[in-house]
Structure formats: structure tokens, C-alpha cells
């Protein structure tokens, strides 16, 4: 039997703090709750890292390869952990150095078993050798997420110790090595991928996406910047829509509205598109969260659980058609997929991490939803961390919602960073001091806000 609404948040908080003891205690404050969730997210990186090379597994599942994007999140998480007292500075610097040294020394030949090419890296790598696995693509966006983490580390570790000096030099080397212009393939926009077996991949990449970070990094490069009106060519595919009475830059999955914000403080700075719309990307992400909540309230496909405090369609793991024990035979299930609003795909799977990642944009709404989801579906928390996805429409014999096994590094990374940006703005403040980011933003046409203020290199 489910608990009544009145005590849901109370019990959930208590379960976290007292290891499933039922002794009543006062509910956690927001700050304490966020601290617990953030710490648990950080623990993922401690558990999933190979300390010898600094590489981090994509998921907690057996034999998971490395995702280079997750390494970027891990590198961004160490400064947070140091500031919060979860990790010693020297240890954090060592872990970061291990990863940076690995990438410096990695095979950049672009051969099928190499690690990268032209300064980019294959999406998935072997956690021991760092060689490409799964015949994965050389990924531009995932390299951007990795290098954002590399730059974060270089902006935090500013001491004049030999380790930290080396770390900064390596970070600069790795960033400057990336040949962003090559990734244009003489086209108007950046290609998404490349494979040694077939060359550039030509997946359509139209409309707003998490690629602001990619374009900013590619434009800020002093060595191989993209050329032409690349950013404008991309933003020309944007769609400004009025949906559920909100005007916003449309993108269906919630994570799209988060990833660039993990590193770049997009509050109050505007590119040409946003100036025309009298908005900014931060406000846009707030509206996206509102639209996701509204969609769940309307719940057009009548899925279990959806309501104003249980929402969030994003890229996440969900039940798949192949899995046994799935009760509803008439609906299709999508496994790991980028679910979105309002046109799906929607199979009843929600992503709690994506809701939590909306924290800086809509804190009250997000905290209400997070507390509610934790209380109603305590099974979505394992080791204090949110599972990638859960689906209350698909229940087990005991009526418990389907929950994705293990954890995904991307989820834990974005949760950790967005909580930190909400709490202290630490990553945003660090990255404001990154000349490459600043140059990239300005070249993309961003103006106003903190960009008007003088640059403070290495600001902390």
C-alpha cells in the first residue's frame, strides 16, 4: 500500500538518512536533501573510475565501457568534491592528471582501435586500455563534454605546484589539439561523428540541442576554430514555439535544456536569436521544465504516475519490448531512448535525474517533484542515487514501478553539477574565467550580462 501524500516527503527523507529505519525524524531541509543527493551522485565517479588512467565507466553495469562524456563530468565533479570536503585536493588533482595524461598519450591515429583522431575521441573506450570499443563513432559532442571537464579542472587547479602546473598545461594542449574546423567537413555546421570505416556520419542535427557548448568551444579555439557562419547556420534551424501557453525554444527531451548549462552560465547573456525573442537560454530552460510538468499533468497517453509532481521525459533507460514480464502488450517500449515532450516518444518512462537537473531554473517546482517522486517510488533511489529511468505503468508482482538497473554516469554528472550551480554557482564562476568559453560566446554573438564584465582568468 502506498503512503498518503501528507507523509510522503517525510518518510522519504527519513529513509535516506536513517538507512530505512522507521523512526520518525523531522524531514530533511532542502539543503540537506540536495547535499545527500549530490554526494551520492559524486560517489558514482569514485566507484566507476579506473584510477590508473582516470577513465570512468559509462554505467555501473558489468563490463561497461568508458564514455568520454562521463569522464568530462567526472573531471568537473572533482573541484566540487574538493570544495565540499569530500575529496582531498591532491587526490582530485591526481585523478584529473591521470585522465589528462591518458588522453595526451592516447593513440590519435584514427585507426579502428585507436582512442581518437584530430584531437577528438571515440565515444566509447575500453576502461583498461582506452582503445575504441563497440566500433563507436568519433564523437564531436561527447568530445566537447569531455573537454569542458578538462577546462574546468584547469580553471580550478591554479596552484603553482608541479602537479597543477602540469594539469593546466595538459588541458591547454588537449583543447588546442582539437581540430574543430576539420569537424565542419567544409559544411555549414559541425558534423556529429566520424568513423574510420566510412568517414563522416550524416545524421540530421536540426533544431535546438545541447550543442551550444560544442559550438562555443569550437569558436573559441585559438588554433582550429570553425569558420563561416556555422553558429548562425545551426540556430537558423531553431523553432520558437508557443506550447501550453509558454513561448520557448523547442526541444523535446529535457536533457537538451541542461547540458550546456552545466558549464556555461547562460543567465542574462543572449545571442542574436534570444535577443530577437527577448529571452535567454536560462529562462528557456525554466519554461521547458514548466512545459514538461504541464505535459505530465495533462498526461495524454494516460500513463500511471504522471502528474504535476511527477514528470520529466528525457534521454534515459526504460523498459524495452524485449524484456520479459512487461505487462502491457499493446504499447511499444523504447529501452534507452531520448523521450520528449509533447510528441514523444513516450512509453510511460520518466527520468528523475532530468528533473533534478532542472533545479537551477525552477527550484521550488523541482524540489516538490523530487520529494514526491522519492516518496511515491522509493525504489528509484539506490545507494542514494537516482536510477536513469522508472516506469510506474509497468509494475512487478508487488506493484512496484519498473526501475532501470544500476546507474548512468551522465545522469549522476549532470545532477551533481546542476545541484552545485544551484547551491554555489561554482562551476559557472569557474568557467566564466575561461578565455576560450568567453571568446566562443562572443564569436557566437552572445552579449550582455557577465560577458560585459572584465574577464578574470582562473576566477574561483
Amino acid at each position: 500500500m502506498r503512503l498518503s501524500c501528507a507523509c510522503e516527503g517525510f518518510i522519504a527523507a527519513e529513509c535516506i538518512t536513517r538507512n530505512h529505519s522507521m523512526t520518525p525524524i523531522p524531514p530533511l531541509t532542502d539543503e540537506a536533501l540536495l547535499d545527500q543527493l549530490q554526494r551520492a551522485a559524486f560517489d558514482y565517479f569514485l566507484q566507476a573510475v579506473n584510477p590508473r588512467n582516470g577513465l570512468v565507466a559509462d554505467t555501473s553495469r558489468d563490463n561497461s565501457p568508458v564514455s568520454i562524456a562521463v569522464v568530462g563530468f567526472a573531471l568537473s565533479s572533482y573541484p566540487v568534491a574538493v570544495e565540499r570536503g569530500w575529496m582531498k585536493r591532491a587526490d582530485a588533482a591526481q585523478r584529473s592528471l591521470a585522465a589528462l595524461r591518458f588522453f595526451r598519450d592516447s593513440d590519435q591515429s584514427g585507426s579502428p582501435a585507436a582512442t581518437g583522431f584530430k584531437g577528438f575521441y571515440y565515444h566509447f573506450l575500453d576502461i583498461h586500455t582506452g582503445a575504441r570499443v563497440w566500433q563507436s563513432e568519433l564523437s564531436m559532442i561527447d568530445t566537447a563534454l569531455l573537454i569542458a571537464g578538462v577546462l574546468t579542472a584547469s580553471l580550478y587547479f591554479t596552484a603553482e605546484s608541479s602537479d597543477e602546473i602540469e594539469l593546466r598545461e595538459l588541458a591547454d594542449f588537449l583543447y588546442r589539439r582539437i581540430d574543430w574546423r576539420w569537424a565542419q567537413d567544409d559544411g555549414d555546421t559541425i558534423r556529429q561523428g566520424w568513423k574510420p570505416e566510412c568517414g563522416y556520419l550524416h545524421y540530421g542535427w536540426e533544431g535546438y540541442s545541447e550543442a551550444i557548448l560544442l559550438y562555443v568551444l569550437a569558436m573559441g579555439s585559438p588554433t582550429h576554430p570553425i569558420v563561416g557562419d556555422c553558429y548562425q547556420a545551426w540556430t537558423a534551424t531553431y523553432q520558437w514555439e508557443n506550447l501550453y501557453d509558454h513561448d520557448y525554444l523547442y526541444a523535446g527531451p529535457l536533457f537538451v535544456h541542461h547540458f550546456s548549462h552545466a558549464w556555461i552560465d547562460l543567465r542574462g547573456i543572449r545571442d542574436s536569436f534570444m535577443r530577437g525573442k527577448r529571452s535567454d537560454y536560462f529562462e528557456n530552460s525554466r519554461r521547458a521544465a514548466c512545459i514538461h510538468r504541464e505535459y505530465a499533468q495533462r498526461n495524454p497517453h494516460e500513463f500511471a504516475g504522471y502528474d504535476q509532481n511527477c514528470w520529466g521525459l528525457s534521454a534515459c533507460d526504460g523498459p524495452s519490448d524485449e524484456q520479459p514480464g512487461v505487462r502491457n502488450e499493446t504499447r511499444r517500449q523504447f529501452g534507452y531512448a531520448a523521450r520528449g515532450v509533447p510528441f514523444g516518444p513516450d512509453d510511460g518512462t520518466l527520468s528523475a535525474p532530468s528533473v533534478l537537473a532542472s533545479l537551477p531554473f525552477a527550484p521550488e517546482m523541482v524540489l516538490d517533484a523530487v520529494r514526491n517522486m522519492m516518496a511515491r517510488y522509493p525504489e528509484i533511489l539506490r545507494e542514494g542515487r537516482f536510477a536513469s529511468g522508472f516506469n510506474p505503468t509497468f509494475t512487478d508482482a508487488n506493484g512496484r514501478a519498473w526501475v532501470s538497473a544500476g546507474h548512468y554516469g551522465l545522469d549522476q554528472g549532470i545532477v551533481l553539477m546542476m545541484i552545485e550551480n544551484h547551491r554555489t554557482r561554482q562551476v559557472w564562476r569557474l568557467m566564466r574565467g575561461c578565455p576560450y568559453i568567453r571568446n566562443g560566446l562572443q564569436r557566437a554573438g552572445f552579449r550582455g550580462g557577465w560577458l560585459q564584465q572584465p574577464s578574470i582568468h582562473g576566477a574561483r
Binding site: 566500433q135 568513423k195 570505416e197 566510412c198 556520419l201 550524416h202 545524421y203 540530421g204 536540426e206 533544431g207 540556430t235 537558423a236 534551424t237 531553431y238 523553432q239 520558437w240 514555439e241 508557443n242 506550447l243 501557453d245 513561448d247 523547442y250 530577437g276 525573442k277 495533462r298 495524454p300 497517453h301 499493446t330 511499444r332 509533447p342 510528441f343 514523444g344 516518444p345
Partner: protein
Amino acid sequence: MPQQYDSSLTTPQDAYERERLANVHPAAWSNPKPADCYQLIIVGAGPAGLAAAETAAALGAKVALIEHHLIGGDCLNIGCVPSKAIIRTSRLYAEMHNAQRYGAQTPDAIRVDFAAVMERMRRIRTHLSGDDSVRRLAAAGVDVFFGEARFAGADTLTVDGEKLCFRKALIATGARPNIPSIPGLREAGYLTNENVFDLTELPRRLLALGGGPLGCELAQAFRRLGAQSSIVQDMPLFLGGEERDAAQILSDAFARDGIEVRLNTTVVAVRVQDGQKLVDLVSDDYRNTIAVDAILTSIGHAPNVQGLNLEAAGVDYDASDGIRVDDFLCTSNPHIYAAGDVCLEHKYTHTAMASARIVVQNALFRGRERLSTLVIPWCIFTDPEIAHVGLYVREANRQGIPVKTFTIPMHEIDRAVTDSEEGGFVKIHVRERTDRILGATIVARHAGDMINEITLAMVAGIGLRTLARVIHPYPTQAEAIRQAADAYSRTRLTPQIRARISRWLSR
């Protein structure tokens, strides 16, 4: 002997076919004695040619119409009409299979009689061919000639050697399917829209080459009639030019139907082995082979400009883009015009007819009507249908027009919900901070009908403000358009206006 799915297919010679031919190309037809000089000669009796002939003749012009094959052109004989007839039957079968979705019992044994499906199509096609019959045209005063037309000079042409003079001419010879140059395809045999409607047996496995309208429509229809359908498309999405959400919703619908879709995939070779066609595919670095029984090519059309001796008439053309015309549809010969698929980018029946009417005005009455002023809607008749009119957002962005889209998902529309047809949307694009409609895309079961309201508004210069005042019967799916207009109206309630209203109400 089983049917061969290739160019050896011929139309079944039944009573329907005999009647159709009697309407659109009677065997005993004798070309009339040519007049001294025609005020308008039309080459090609498809939708454009017929529309021009009927309009000009009704206005009293002396008109000759020349057709080398069948009156009615692709639309009637091998295009819109037969495909829609088949799609309707396929929808019925889909609903039978999905009966439980509507609270009905799924029939115990659903057996598709494909021959009956095609016979119904032929009956309907024959019935509609009566509207385009030679007799009706002749009765309207049009001189109908069957034969091959060739220009002999700036104001003359010949039909099977007989000379005809004209003051003005219209070239409306249409287009034919493009055939991809894939090694082995020609030897293996393939279907196009020119022969697919001659089938009497359902191919067990059908591969549609190309994710364009014809490939999507027929792959879905044949799947619903029992074939295993696949679509191979070398682009990342279906219907490259369409709204990406539209393509995504269609992709989801195809998945529900069980159509196998392979995007970013190129066909590199076709082979025949043990009576089946083996198709070699490459997608990035992944190679594989699928076995099918029939291959339907659907990669667009090429204009019919060959054999007309256009050089003799001084008419400029390009083998792939067709006859070059100006905005008044005049060719490089000021006495000769073109209309329809032979010269237009948008190859639709209704566009062909609209362009032909422009030609009649401009050629016979010194009109100055422009092609560019036409508001052209179109529809892809999949389930759900995808209809569009006007600008796409990316086009507006490219032109520097600030654009805002009012989006209403069909799951917000009561009638769509009661009909279990919630998949889709109405998106109306307006110029930012105005109610002026720039374009719209509709994805809905009957999007092709719904788009007419938007087209009317655009032609009449009606904005969303006025559309919000148009009462729509409840419950209808077209209410989505009014809801979009209502959403626009709510955006006009600025905080200042709200404050004034509040003060008024609390006075």
C-alpha cells in the same frame, strides 16, 4: 505462374479497363482535321493540360489538346487516384487489426483479398475517368489529338507528322519516375508508380527505395494489406523537407505498423537469387543484405522534355529541372508557356492545375498572373496524413523573417481523443508579434482536409485574430486550428492589459 514484379506487368484487361481506355484513349479514335490556327495548343493531357483546355474552351478559345498516351495523365491513371483507393482499403484493414483500440472485437480471421482490392481500385479509376473522357472534351469544343507532338518552329508543331499552327502553346507533358542507377536493379526488375497499380498479387516482401511521399504511402498501404514492407532512405529522416516532428510522428506510426525503416542507408547493388531479389545495403560502416520480392522506386520524378524538339521552338530546358519558365510561366519563346510537373518544383496535381489556369490568363488575355503568388498546400497521404502550406520555419529564418509557431498537439483535441487519433499536431507559423500566418504544418488523420482552412486564411489575408472568431463545430479535429488561434489571442493579454482588466472588474 506467379506474378513478376517488374516491367512485364500489364494492366488486367477486364471490363473496367476496357471502359477506362474507351474514356481516355479509345482505340477507334480518329484525330480531327486541324484548324488553320489554334489560339491555344496544349501538349499533354494530364491535370495541367486538362485544366487549361477546359478553361480556355469554356472562354471560347479554339483549343487543341495533344496526348500521346492516356487522357488524365499520371494523377488519374497511375498516381493520386489509384493510390488513394488502395490506401482507403488498407486503412480499413488496419482498423480491423486495431479493433480493440476502439472497444471492438478483432475479427477472428482477417483475410486480405488483394485482387479484390485492386479490382476496386480499377473500378473507381474507371468511374472517375469518365470526367476526363475524350468525348466530354470534344463536346466542350476541344480538338483532341492522340500522337507524338514535335515542335517544328516557333509557332508550329506536328502530331504524328500532321502540322498544327498556334498563336500560343502550352507544354504540359508532366514527368516520369526517376530510376536510380543501382547495379543490378534493372536486371532484377522493379516497380514504379507506372506499373505498381497493375499488380494483382501482393508481393510478400516489398522494399521502397526512397522515403518520399509515394514510397511512404505505398509502403504503409502494402504493409497493412499484408506485405512485409521496408523503406530504405539515404537521408537521416523521412521526407527531408518536412517538419522534423512530422517525420518523427510518421516514423512512430510506421513502427506501430511493423514497417522496417532504414535511414542513412544506401542501396549499393541488387541481385537475383532463387527467385528473390537480394538488396545490398550500406549504412555508415554497416553492410547487410535483405531479401525481397518486389522493389518500388520512389526517388522523385524527371520532367518529360525528350522528343519534343524544343530546340526548334526556341524553348530552353534542362533535362533534370525541366522547361525554364519565368514567374508568368512563359518560356524563352514568348508564344509558348509551360505548366505542371514539366516545369515546376512542386509536382502536385493541384499545383499543375493552378499553374495551367495562370497560363490561360497570361497567354490568351495578356494577364500578368504570377506563379510566385500562389499559396500551395500539399499533403502526404500516410496515416496520419502530413499536410503543409506556406513557409517552413527554417525558410523564414533564412529569409530573416522573425517567426513564432503556435503548436497544438492533437492529444489536446477532444475529437481526436474520442477517435483514438491523438498522434499529430497543428503548427501554425506567424510573423513574430503579429497574427499574420506564414505557413502551417498539420499532422492528423485528415490533415489534408484541415490544411484548407489555413490556406484559405493565407489567400484571404486572414490572421489568427480573425480565425479565433471562427466558430468550429464541436467536436471536430479542425478545432485544433481555433485552439492555435486562441493561444495567439492569449499572448495578447500582456501584464498591462491584465492589470487594466483587473481594475475594470474590481471597480
